[in-house]
């Protein structure tokens, strides 16, 4: 049995497919084979956890009435903001036409799509009835609910991203340009709706307030930029498609952006902490105490502050560590720190319930320990994302193309001058002339 796809006959015989797969795997370099093997194994672990979490009401999660949202919600928030942050970071190139950021375009779009699908997968596993969510959001919409708006905007974002990716690989540049702009706009709005899911709850003082949605956007930009830093280090290190411009433009661009957003995050975390300590607002001050000296202190001081902010900033600023490897280390730590940050954020809103819940009185703090099922799902999600992206990196044409420059929507000095734009496009799209040093320093401290 065979199917005809894109002018080629592909067999569907399992034995033939297995044989071909075996030959492909055998021909791989040993480290790549090990990488695939580890990821597949972790995906299988995640799949077992996912299967166990599917039946409604099975108490396989570590949550309880006083602590209803656990690490799956934290992971969902993390991936949902990461996908937005990827688009925000690359919009500097795709929408605003800043040349340093243009090499990010293809990889960011693939990563953003995969991150969003990972986020949707995790939330589907956390929901007891995910199919009802799809129908319910359409048939009995609730525009008063921030969660409904979150579904609307992330749904729209998925559509725009799909169009962006498809048009990118099929050369439909006009459509691509529109999709880039729309996805970038949605990438700002979507995390604010996610922030509003928490921010509107007046009964949860730690989350409550207009500060939460914009803080979610800054967290999005940090996680997205950090992930781009990791990926472009790999591109540079293993000399993958477009590595020349990755080293010359993308890595300095990411370093610059990561440094700025880390500095912004220091302000955000600092003010959040000061806000919580000021006065004695019931719920808020206790939650802040839980973060600073309570059950969340260890992840906060070690993962959030030290490894997630201080060390990355040092790595990015010190001249000795201003290397691609230094950027990769900083990005990796910032990425881990951001995951801890989102988990602390989700947990801090619940760790000090201001009421008994269904007859349970947590004292002094509500307890939550992630179950093995939850941990396996989160690990599996990261592995699935890495596996899917590795496959995309190896099998999709990731080299730059001319279309993205046409897509530089707002950055042209003379947007109305089509001839100028075309000329600029031709110049930028030309193969890189690396007579300049391979690392673009851009001048200045950063």
């Amino acid at each position: 049995m065979s199917v005809h796809v894109a002018g080629r006959d592909l067999t569907a015989d399992p034995r033939v497919v297995a044989g071909a797969l075996r030959r492909r795997v055998g021909a791989m370099p040993r480290p790549l084979r090990a990488w695939y093997g580890i990821l597949v194994l972790l995906c299988l672990v995640g799949a077992v956890g996912a299967a166990l979490s599917l039946p409604p009401g099975w108490e396989v999660l570590g949550t309880s009435p006083p602590f209803e949202w656990g690490i799956l919600i934290a992971a969902y928030v993390f991936f949902a903001i990461t996908t937005s942050g990827l688009c925000l970071a690359s919009s500097l190139g795709t929408v605003f036409g800043i040349e340093m950021f243009i090499p990010l375009e293809k990889r960011h779009a693939i990563l953003a799509l995969l991150c969003l699908m990972t986020a949707f997968g995790i939330i589907a596993l956390d929901l007891q009835f995910p199919v009802r969510m799809v129908f319910g959001a359409v048939l009995s919409p609730s525009p008063r609910s921030p969660m409904w708006w979150m579904g609307v905007f992330y749904g729209a974002y998925l559509v725009f991203l799909i169009i962006e990716v498809l048009s990118m690989f099929t050369g439909r540049w006009r459509l691509h340009r529109i999709a880039c702009v729309l996805s970038s706009i949605t990438a700002i709005v979507a995390p604010t709706t996610l922030g509003a899911v928490f921010g509107v709850l007046s009964s949860r003082p730690y989350w409550h307030g207009a500060f939460t949605p914009p803080a979610m956007v800054s967290a999005a930009l940090l996680s997205g930029t950090a992930l781009l830093g990791l990926v472009f280090y790999v591109v540079h290190r293993f000399r993958l498609a477009g590595f020349e411009r990755a080293g010359a433009l993308a890595i300095p661009a990411i370093r610059l952006l990561l440094t700025i957003i880390l500095a912004v995050t220091v302000l955000v975390v600092g003010w959040q902490t000061a806000w919580g300590l000021y006065g004695d607002v019931p719920g808020l001050s206790t939650a802040t105490a839980a973060i600073l000296v309570g059950p969340l202190a260890l992840p906060f001081w070690v993962l959030r502050v030290l490894l997630g902010l201080v060390v990355p900033i040092i790595l990015l600023v010190l001249p000795r560590t201003r290397t691609p490897a230094g950027l990769a280390a900083a990005a990796c730590l910032a990425f881990i720190g951001l995951f801890a940050d989102r988990a602390i954020f989700v947990f801090a809103g619940q760790v000090v319930p201001d009421s008994a819940v269904a007859g349970v009185l947590p004292s002094p703090f509500a307890a939550y320990v992630p179950s093995l099922v939850e941990i396996s799902i989160v690990v599996g999600a990261f592995a699935a994302l890495a596996l899917a992206y590795t496959l995309a990196e190896r099998h999709l044409p990731m080299g730059e193309h001319s279309g993205h420059v046409v897509g530089a929507f707002l950055g042209s000095a003379n947007p109305a001058g089509a001839a100028d734009a075309a000329a600029a496009s031709a110049v930028r799209a030309a193969p890189p002339t690396l007579t300049a040093p391979p690392m673009y320093d851009g001048g200045g401290v950063l």
Binding site: S64, E68, L127, S145, I162, V197, V360
Partner: protein
């Protein structure tokens, strides 16, 4: 916006370069009615059982009382909890579990009883061993051996049936809603089990139903809460907890009826609601409540 999402969802699989725009549009036009049709069918099944929604209001299609048709617009149900008479026996908790098939787990309750003990130094300790379902052991009444008790009383807790309920505001699929007679209910066929209403409730009145032999509506994985025993009050009966209370600490009735016990209590006693600053406007009032209970 949602229609756009639904319609565009098949797009990525279809929008390959080999397909024409016409084919994609044809598929999309065919897919939208198919998806909407399936969803409508799902919605129809969800609404046909025991809840009828019409013109923005909700009417419970429970069996009607013997005397005639139940008119939800004619009632305004409320509770007054008298903390000066509650003895913390826990019969209300037991009765609620039996009446509503609440899971036997002592950590999952539609109603529970808290013991508030105010020590000589004004510190307050709150306890609710097993939700108060088996009374409160004597040792719970003393916060510490060396501390004298200034005041101690029991606080029965349940859903406040707020006039401005945060749980209904946040539900993304309108699965939890407020009836005309002021009761907040959960549609078990619409609830997606996201837990947002649990998080939003300032009174901790909700829990997620675990799988097991005992589930209030036979559906695990949904949010559950006190309904003032809606199946009973629409037949002219008292809620189970009020029915069994030996000291009449749970005063239930219709605020629209000026002679009902609850109207008399609201009028004659000094009552207050919990967490008034949140603007939820509860329909459960308390007498003899100290300020620290908020």
């Amino acid at each position: 916006m949602s229609d756009t999402v639904t319609a565009a969802a098949p797009g990525p699989g279809e929008a390959r370069p080999t397909l024409s725009r016409r084919r994609v549009l044809q598929f999309g036009l065919a897919a939208v009615p198919a998806v909407c049709g399936a969803a409508l069918l799902s919605g129809a099944l969800a609404t046909s059982h025991d809840v009828v929604r019409a013109a923005g209001s909700v009417r419970a299609a429970e069996p009607e009382p013997a005397g005639g048709t139940y008119d939800p617009s004619a009632h305004h149900w409320a509770f007054v909890m008298d903390t000066t008479t509650c003895i913390g026996c826990g019969r209300c908790v037991e009765a609620c579990k039996l009446e509503n098939h609440v899971p036997p787990d002592p950590q999952l309750n539609r109603t529970w009883v808290e013991l508030h003990v105010q020590a000589e130094d004004w510190t307050v300790s709150v306890s609710s061993p097993q939700g108060g379902g088996h009374g409160v052991p004597a040792e719970e009444t003393m916060p510490a051996a060396a501390t004298a008790v200034r005041n101690a009383y029991f606080v029965p807790r349940l859903c406040m049936q707020c006039e401005n309920p945060p749980c209904t505001w946040v539900c993304p699929v309108s699965a939890t809603y407020r009836t005309e007679d002021g009761i907040v209910l959960v549609d078990e066929k619409r609830c997606i089990g996201c837990g947002y209403c649990l998080i939003a409730c300032p009174y901790g009145a909700r829990y997620m139903v675990p799988a097991g032999d005992t589930t209030p509506k036979g559906v695990p994985g949904i949010a559950d809460k006190c309904t003032f025993c809606y199946h009973r009050i629409t037949r002219g009966l008292l809620p189970a907890c009020a029915e069994v209370c030996p000291v009449n600490a749970r005063i239930f009735g219709d605020l629209n009826d000026a002679t009902s016990p609850v109207s008399v209590a609201v009028r004659d006693k000094r009552v207050r609601a919990m967490k008034p600053a949140l603007g939820t406007r509860p329909r459960v009032f308390y007498t003899g409540l100290e300020g620290e209970v908020d």
